[in-house]
């Protein structure tokens, strides 16, 4: 029990690291995912092919492999992912600015991997809009842009929000993998620091693990409950 009080700093640091990585990856994945979704619904077959290839690749290989490839390819290309050392951001998110690139590599891997799922969530949202809505808009003489802005996207957003939420929850859980790539500033890193690496570890591994699990549940369960509530309220309004 005393581990929670003695080592609260370690737990807190790990929790913060996980949250920071998740916020970064969520923003990145939403941006890249939207871009890929645009490619995937583009009218030109070759452009569509690029989007489809991206999604097929990243949806079907394990995140572990993505992380390995990141850890191999980026250093080989002479990149320490230094482009993520964005001035103001490194003071806010300290692991981002460290000499060791692992936090940045893991964040990049998590981002490009999650982006594929974000793309699919957005696309399922667009596809869930009844075709008649867009046809009516076109027959009113709306341009492509007007159609998107006033008719399709507001509805697609509503259909996409729940799948997007599940993607983000999955992403939070996936961030646990970062530890295998040397990121100690994560919730799973707490276990590593207090048990595996500690000399003559005096803490009960069970207690530490329970703390780690709680750290993730604090993030995932409330998000899941919010999502359930959103889904329920949508079902009520969508029912015709």
């Amino acid at each position: 029990m005393e581990v929670y009080f003695d080592q609260f700093g370690v737990f807190w640091e790990g929790f913060l690291g996980t949250v920071q990585m998740c916020v970064l990856a969520a923003v990145g994945a939403l941006a890249i995912g939207t871009l890929v979704a645009v490619l995937r619904v583009a009218p030109l077959p070759p452009v569509r092919g690029v989007g489809t290839a991206y999604v097929t690749v990243f949806r079907n290989i394990p995140l572990t492999v993505v992380m390995f490839v990141c850890a191999f390819v980026l250093p080989l290309l002479g990149s320490n992912a230094d482009f993520l050392k964005i001035p103001g951001l490194t003071t806010l998110i300290r692991p981002l600015g460290t000499e060791l690139p692992f936090f940045r590599f893991a964040t990049i891997a998590l981002t490009v991997y999650t982006a594929a799922f974000v793309c699919e969530a957005l696309r399922s949202g667009i596809n869930a809009v009844p075709v008649g809505q867009a046809e009516a808009a076109r027959s009113l003489g709306m341009t492509f842009g007007q159609n998107l802005r006033h008719i399709v996207l507001p509805q697609a957003w509503k259909f996409a929000i729940v799948p997007l939420g599940s993607v983000i929850i999955a992403m939070i859980k996936n961030s646990a993998l970062a530890l295998s790539f040397g990121v100690l500033a994560s919730m799973t890193g707490v276990f590593d620091r207090l048990i595996s690496q500690a000399e003559g570890a005096s803490y009960d591994s069970m207690a530490v693990l329970v703390g780690v699990v709680v750290g993730y549940l604090v993030l995932t369960i409330p998000l899941g409950l919010v999502l359930d509530a959103v889904e329920r309220s949508q079902k009520k309004t969508v029912r015709r």
């Binding site: 995140l63 572990t64 390819v73 080989l76 399709v152 859980k173």
Partner: protein, 323 residues
């Protein structure tokens, strides 16, 4: 075909599309070359020496590499199939029990004497709470952590496996059985209410209604989602290599890369890229199967109402490590 975004193209639009495609395709190829191929080529990654052990049948390492990959993939598939079978059985059971508990919660047991009544009602409530708690905890914990928990706790409780496979299978089963239970439960709850009402009207109890009437139909409708879950499980087996040193496809690849480094062949990229291609191939086949089944189910008796959004695939795990 007309879609949400575009009208059915006429002859002029079609011609424009073809021309634009012919222009765009080489541009994309050029971009891919500049961004991906050239930087790698500059660093000698296309040196045949690095790829020979994988693709050159006359290379002395060729048979060794593919032998190890075959073993690794067999272990990956074994872990995935075992986890999926256990998850399916336990998940079905959990889904049925949760549904039954929900039915029982409405009952007030008027035929029982008063103390038994309060006992029954409170034990039902306890069951509801416990199962709900189990679902939330098992679902909200990263699979990576679940594997570490299983690996740390089971030996301490005197359950020791020689084969590390079982730690992985147990952890994957804990996570996926809960996910499958929720898939099946939502399948049963989204059936037309007439199914349940008719079944109760002919005198079946609520458990019989669930097992004989609702469950088989839910299974049919949810089959594609269940198969997609297999992709998640397949991807999650790769966590077994990292956490419990189970020698599945990823870990074997990792070990081979280490071994080749000893031979002064730095073929990390070729090996992992080939591994990635194999993962894509295997999972692509599985998801095609799901897609095919979804098409078949759609034309069956239980056609989805067309204005309902399609079945959401549960994408979690490392996919999920959940993704």
């Amino acid at each position: 075909m007309s879609s949400v975004l575009y009208d059915t193209p006429g002859p002029r639009t079609r011609a424009k599309t073809i021309v634009a495609s012919i222009v765009a395709a080489p541009l994309i190829a050029l971009l891919a070359y500049l961004v991906i191929v050239q930087p790698l080529a500059d660093r000698g990654q296309f040196d045949w020496k690095l790829w020979a052990p994988i693709f050159d049948t006359s290379d002395p390492n060729f048979p060794l590499v593919w032998d190890r990959w075959r073993d690794g993939w067999l272990r990956t598939l074994k872990a995935a199939v075992l986890s999926m079978v256990f998850s399916f059985v336990l998940g079905s059971l959990l889904g049925l029990v949760r549904r039954e508990l929900r039915e029982l919660r409405r009952r007030r047991f008027p035929d029982q004497p008063r103390p038994a009544r309060t006992g029954l009602i409170s034990s039902v409530l306890a069951g509801v709470g416990l199962s709900r708690g189990w679902v939330e905890v098992a679902r909200g914990t990263p699979v990576y952590v679940t594997i570490v928990v299983v690996y740390t706790f089971l030996p301490r409780w005197g359950v020791d496996f020689d084969d590390r496979l079982w730690y992985l299978v147990i952890a994957l089963t804990i996570y996926n059985s809960v996910v499958i239970a929720e898939i099946i439960r939502s399948g049963m709850e989204n059936l037309p209410s007439g199914q349940r009402e008719a079944s109760l009207a002919i005198g079946l109890g609520s458990w019989q209604t669930s097992v004989l009437v609702l469950y088989p139909q839910a299974l049919r409708i949810m089959l594609p989602a269940l198969i997609s879950q297999l992709v998640v499980v397949l991807k999650d087996t790769s966590l077994g290599g990292l956490t419990v040193s189970y020698e599945e496809a990823l870990r074997t690849t990792q070990q081979m890369v280490e071994a080749f480094r000893g031979l002064n062949i730095a073929n990390g990229i070729p090996m992992f890229v080939t591994l990635g291609v194999m993962y894509v191939a295997v999972n692509y086949v599985v998801s095609r199967l799901a897609h095919y089944l979804q098409g078949r189910m759609g034309s069956g008796r239980h056609r989805r109402k067309s204005d309902e959004p399609p079945v959401q695939m549960v994408e979690a795990g490392a996919g999920a490590a959940g993704a």
